[in-house]
């Protein structure tokens, strides 16, 4: 079956941005059905998903193996309701094929607040949400992957397969196994559950005692999939150019995966270890083919900390020599200590973002954010000299050991930055915005055991910040309290939360990550009906407690995380992996640990 766009015309004319739902992008592969039809699903809008690099890499790895990989994004409410009303199932963009007719749907989980959108998409596709309701029937396999998959437990009742780690390493192998066994047979599950990076929630049983996890039964260890050489890894040489402007409408290359720094709150900094840089020549080639095939005039050099890329200067030189004239380079995620006028010049932006994360040096040491005030000021000054006139500062509140003094220091940083701006006469007025989000403890970080500050504590902290931030003209914003709590609950949740998720979805909760869409009452009712207390999930976890994600092995040892936690409480900085190996557990796979970094 194929969904006919002409029949959807009255609906398309009624909705916002209909080109989200029509496909036909330049650069989208000319798809045909094959022995394995996969649809890459993204639980957010088209313009958000089209900017995501991960899903393009996964789709490419499936296509390269001779299979089919289509795309689908969450429709906004207007289109979703229209589809339901007309009885038209959610369809893929390329083949216009109903999702229910695919062999596998793979959802990319970029953050916890997209979980209800996964259920929304399944529902719009006419696919039963619970795995138990699909058992023995001819529905596609429901898979998830991406950063949140390192603790997929809240979704355990809904999904068949979880891809953990580097998806492109293993997903096509799973596809091949599916074809070999003629579907999702017992033999298929036996085979794929032995692969690194594949977790099947049905094959692991969780036993609780007194509300806490007593033990795991069945498959009790799942190792993440790991690509050691990114230069040889799959990477698309062309992107589908989105029909309507996407949030990051430019070509993207991934200069490296992983981060040398190990900031203790940062999940990405641990789960993407070890650091694997791509070669400057590989990257230059990739950037040139993307620009040629997309028509973009900007290339973004993505990674968790691009300033730490060992060959950044060489890479920038090579890119400038090889890319067509007029193509700009964008370097997001530059750390203040790596901010260098050489790098910033290309961007020609007005606003610069720094993330000191904590106001005081003491607290920055606690979180292992190895950045000093002098470095921030030096970076800001060189940016001002280049013509930047706006600074965005990212902080967190509710960090372990945080006191009111730590928060009042934010005012000092702002005052210093203002002082640096006033050192010389400048044309424009300086704009500073301070964004202070609530700290959320995440699995596989040294802070995975920490309690999240309560709503009352956060409100008190917000008041302290507001009262002490006296520098004029500073625009202060913070995250919504309930949203932060919900994210914290789902991030460290167990499979008992599947019930809450289902209830929340039935109460109409979707697009939870959007301030204006968050349905707080719907969630509160869901927790109530499921007789589940959010505090059970935001509380401090005992160090000897079995954590819901303990059966997953991302390579970083628990011993290392514990020692990092200890160092946090004594205010000791660990420093970058480039200086010396810290023994996180991935030494065998780490080029930096072997001293092979250029």
């Amino acid at each position: 079956m194929k969904v006919n766009l002409d029949e959807l015309r009255p609906l398309l004319l009624k909705v916002e941005k209909p080109s989200r739902y029509t496909g036909g992008e330049f650069g989208a592969p000319d798809l045909k059905e094959s022995a394995f039809n996969f649809c890459m699903c993204f639980p957010d809008l088209y313009e958000v998903g089209m900017s995501n690099l991960g899903i393009k890499i996964v789709a490419e790895s499936i296509l390269k193996r001779g299979f089919t990989a289509d795309f689908c994004f969450t429709p906004y409410k207007d289109f979703g309701a229209g589809l339901k009303e007309r009885g038209v199932p959610l369809y893929s963009l390329g083949l216009k094929k109903p999702l229910a007719e695919f062999d596998m749907l793979g959802f990319s989980l970029q953050f916890e607040l997209c979980y209800t959108n996964v259920l929304y998409m399944l529902d719009l596709a006419g696919i039963p949400l619970l795995r138990s309701e699909r058992a023995g029937k001819n529905y596609p396999l429901i898979a998830v992957g991406g950063p949140c998959a390192v603790n997929p437990e809240p979704l355990a009742d809904f999904v068949d397969i979880v891809f953990i780690g580097d998806g492109e390493r293993v997903d096509a192998d799973v596809a091949e196994s599916f074809v070999k066994h003629g579907g999702a047979t017992q033999e298929f599950y036996n085979e794929i559950s032995k692969m690194d990076g594949v977790y099947c929630p049905a094959l692991t049983e969780v036993v609780y005692e007194g509300g806490k996890i007593k033990e795991f039964r069945g498959i009790t260890r799942v190792k993440k999939a790991l690509i050691s050489d990114l230069d040889g890894a799959v990477f698309p040489d062309r992107f589908a150019v989105p029909n309507c402007e996407s949030v990051h409408d430019r070509a993207v290359i991934e200069v490296m995966r992983g981060c040398y720094r190990g900031c203790r709150f940062c999940q990405a900094g641990f789960i993407y270890r070890p650091v694997r840089p791509r070669d400057a020549d590989t990257l230059t080639k990739q950037a040139c083919s993307l620009i040629k095939n997309s028509g973009y005039d900007e290339v973004s050099l993505n990674s968790l900390s691009t300033g730490d890329y060992p060959e950044l200067r060489t890479l920038i030189k090579k890119l400038k020599e090889s890319l067509p004239e007029g193509v700009k380079l964008a370097l997001p995620s530059l750390r203040v200590d790596s901010f260098d006028s050489d790098f910033a010049q290309d961007a020609r932006r007005v606003s610069l973002t720094f993330a000191p994360e904590a106001g005081s040096q003491r607290l920055r040491d606690v979180i292992n954010k190895d950045v000093t005030e002098e470095e921030i000021l030096r970076a800001a000054e060189s940016a001002f000299d280049l013509g930047y006139s706006a600074v965005k500062l990212y902080f967190m509140m509710g960090l372990p050991t945080e006191t009111d003094e730590d928060l009042t220091e934010i005012n000092r940083i702002c005052a210093y930055i203002k002082g640096a701006y006033r050192k010389k006469p400048r044309k424009k007025q300086l704009r500073i915005s301070v964004s202070c989000s609530t700290f959320i403890p995440k699995p596989f970080t040294p802070f995975q055991w920490e309690a999240q500050a309560t709503e009352q504590e956060i409100e008190k902290k917000q008041k302290v910040l507001k009262d002490t931030l006296r520098v004029k003209g500073v625009n202060l914003s913070w995250s919504d309290n309930f949203t932060a709590r919900l994210e914290a609950v789902l991030a460290r949740g167990d499979r008992r939360l599947s019930k809450v998720l289902l209830l929340a979805y039935k109460n109409g909760c979707i697009f939870d990550g959007w301030d204006k869409e968050l349905n707080k009452e719907g969630w509160q009712k869901a927790f109530e009906s499921a007789n589940t207390d959010m505090r059970e999930y935001t509380r401090e976890r005992g160090e000897s407690e079995i954590l819901p994600w303990d059966f997953i092995d991302v390579g970083v040892t628990k011993k290392f995380l514990l020692s990092e936690r200890g160092k946090a409480y004594s205010g000791k900085v660990t420093g970058s992996c480039i200086e010396s190996c810290k023994g996180c557990g991935l030494q065998k796979n780490c080029a930096a640990a072997k001293g092979k970094e250029k």
Binding site: L5, R9, L12, T22, F26, C244, K292, G295
Partner: protein, 196 residues
């Protein structure tokens, strides 16, 4: 300068005017066709399109002019690099900007699905008062240039530019009067200087 005629069909009818401009710019870049840019503080490519087509209306008669250096087969180069439904039909060298947004005075459309009626019932009226999408009082009649039924389709020509009348708005008016439901509304041709 190259002037070209192109389509907006097969899903491309849902592209907004601004998105379409971006796609034409990128298509030309991918094709290796160097477009001159305006001078000044914020240079932009010299691409000049005809007036925006209403969202969702298909067309096989869109016009655009680009200030560029290119000697090869423009149509072939463009079509190899353009998104689905945005395809060049014809092109020609022009020495000056034809300024299609002003040059095109009226356009002919076709629609299926409307109940048949005598076109003179409309054409013989001297005035048809209506309120347009923005709430303004307008006279529809002066904006209707032609109207006829052939092979089960309604062919109609409406003014463009200052006294523009949207074909879907006009069809809705006809539906209200005579019944039926307009389907497959397509812009067939444009009238004015330098169209081809």
């Amino acid at each position: 300068m190259i002037a070209f005629k192109y389509t907006k069909t097969d899903g491309a009818e849902y592209l907004s005017h601004l998105d379409l401009l971006r796609h034409i710019d990128r298509t030309l870049k991918r094709a290796g066709i160097k477009v001159k840019t305006s001078e000044g503080f914020n240079p932009h490519p010299k691409i000049f399109m005809n007036s925006p087509l209403g969202l969702g209306i298909k067309s096989i008669a869109e016009y655009c002019a680009v200030d560029c250096f290119f000697s090869g087969d423009f149509k072939e180069a463009f079509n190899a690099n353009s998104p689905c439904g945005v395809k060049c039909l014809d092109f020609k060298e022009v020495s000056n900007n034809p300024n299609y947004a002003y040059a095109i005075k009226s356009c002919q459309y076709s629609a299926e699905g409307l109940t048949s009626f005598d076109p003179n019932a409309i054409l013989n009226k001297s005035n048809i008062a209506a309120t347009d999408g923005r709430g303004r009082e307008i006279d529809l009649r002066e904006r209707i240039c032609g109207l006829e039924f052939a092979d089960g389709k309604l062919y109609f020509t409406l003014l463009c530019g200052e006294k523009n009348l949207r074909p879907d708005f006009f069809c809705e008016y006809l539906e209200g009067l005579f019944g039926g439901k307009a389907q497959n509304v397509i812009k067939l041709q444009a009238f004015g200087e330098n169209v081809f």
